[in-house]
Symmetry: C2
Subunit: 282 residues, 2 copies
């Protein structure tokens, strides 16, 4: 399994505080050592840093901790390999261009027997279940909307249809962004909070570091942080409900919905139950 970190902001913001705590989990406070990656949007384009070294040891992660890249949408991932070798092509997040924007996807979980037919427009470079799911999602977006870019709400509604079908194959928690907004979905575990005026101090869980956000922000700032496990000990993190999807824009949730996953969650809680592979649906 892996861990996810997403950030969606009203104004370009750097993620160094959260990433410092998060990256400790790649060998110090947890064992997610099999590569890391982080993507920073700037408008429609994206800087993507990936490494098959751990986020503790990688010089690229060290750069990210110290170089305050400001962005409105960031997705990071630390990997503990379950499917696919530890190499660059299996390192999240994954990036593809669609409708003249980069799209970034990172997944936490494990999908079994997930091998849907793909059109060829988006083909996995590596051999993870995660990149297959990303290519499948994008294929479905093109199948529905063609080459005319839909609204964020239209994308959200299609994701609400597709995500639970993929989740029939296992745990499917993800963050997805096109630089305009951040889509997030959880079957088992994902937390979020919004930091906004009046800002307060925050104390990391994984590292003895505190930042008083009231000293480094303006009233216009607002930041939503999405993460597998809470990053700070003195803030209130909200847990996603099983099957919940939230669309974040301008640093706050702008759309929330629930997918039907009761049976799936039951199965995942008791994996000895027979899983029905429904690849024929795709």
């Amino acid at each position: 399994m892996c861990q996810l970190l997403g950030m969606n902001c009203a104004t370009p913001t750097d993620i160094t505080f959260s990433f410092r705590g998060f990256s400790q989990r790649a060998g110090i406070t947890s064992d997610h050592c099999d590569g890391f990656g982080i993507a920073f949007f700037e408008d429609k384009a994206c800087r993507l840093f990936v490494d098959n070294q751990s986020a503790v040891e990688s010089p690229i992660a060290e750069l990210v901790r110290n170089y305050p890249i400001k962005s409105r949408n960031v997705i990071a991932h630390i990997r503990k390999a379950t499917q696919g070798k530890i190499n660059l092509e299996n390192s999240h997040p994954f990036m593809r261009e669609l409708w003249g924007r980069q799209w970034i996807f990172a997944h936490n979980g494990d999908l079994l027997d997930f091998d849907p037919p793909l059109t060829g427009h988006f083909t996995p470079v590596g051999n993870t279940d995660s990149e297959r799911a990303f290519c499948f999602l994008l294929d479905q977006l093109v199948a529905k909307f063609g080459y005319v870019e839909p609204s964020l709400t239209q994308v959200f509604e299609l994701l609400l249809e597709i995500a639970p079908k993929i989740a029939e194959h296992g745990t499917f928690n993800f963050c997805l962004s096109n630089g305009q907004a951040l889509f997030s979905y959880a079957i088992t575990k994902l937390h979020w909070l919004v930091r906004e005026y009046p800002f307060k101090p925050a104390q990391l869980i994984d590292l003895d570091v505190e930042v008083d956000f009231s000293q480094v922000t303006t009233p216009e700032d607002r930041v939503a942080v999405i993460t597998t496990e809470p990053l700070t000990q003195n803030e209130v993190w909200q847990a996603f409900q099983p099957g919940e999807m939230i669309l974040f824009q301008y640093g706050q949730p702008i759309q929330r919905a629930f997918t039907q996953v009761d049976r799936l969650v039951r199965e995942q809680a008791n994996p000895t139950l027979k899983r029905i592979t429904r690849a024929d649906q795709y």
Copy 2:
């Protein structure tokens, strides 16, 4: 205009020596200050570092100069903006996935009135002539071969047809790689050399640095370097002929051909001659 640097190797090799000299041209020995980028393949996947700061000042370029990332195919670019703003989405190299491989493209030159229809499969994220040309090349590859990956020779032959048509619009020197090999094409300026056993010392032009490659190589190593202007003062660089295309694999040219560009080169030497826009061909 911009400058290009490509490297194609028999064994994974680091580019720190060449990149140290090359990046001096981003403000010290030349004025290519409007962003830089470098892509390192590892098999079918790619690490892409881009920054809209100059390669002299960017902390990301500093990382690349000091972190010896080994790769068989590398493409780097320093930008002096002619078309498109100085921002991340206009920074070369550009990356797209096709046939389950990343493809990387960087361009030196300036294309006028180049606005061919695109299918929508590959859409520019920024607004440079260069990214449009890249999307057009990939569109043409899909139009010809569909979703069945062709051989390198088949790609080479199609590029030989398309590149001179694009070059009707202006200067079109490029490096293109899919991680297996490096395609390079020059209308006006590109140089190359092969370093192989027995290796010798090399002295950079842009910086007072010498490396004795005989001390840091094995007989199996072989490296082709492709660059706009020669990087070293004591090695023999070969100039591309106008319209020449070379395919490098395993650190050496494996295929060379010439496209007909006499009229084009004449036009470029004398830009007051009327240019015939042949967008109707696309």
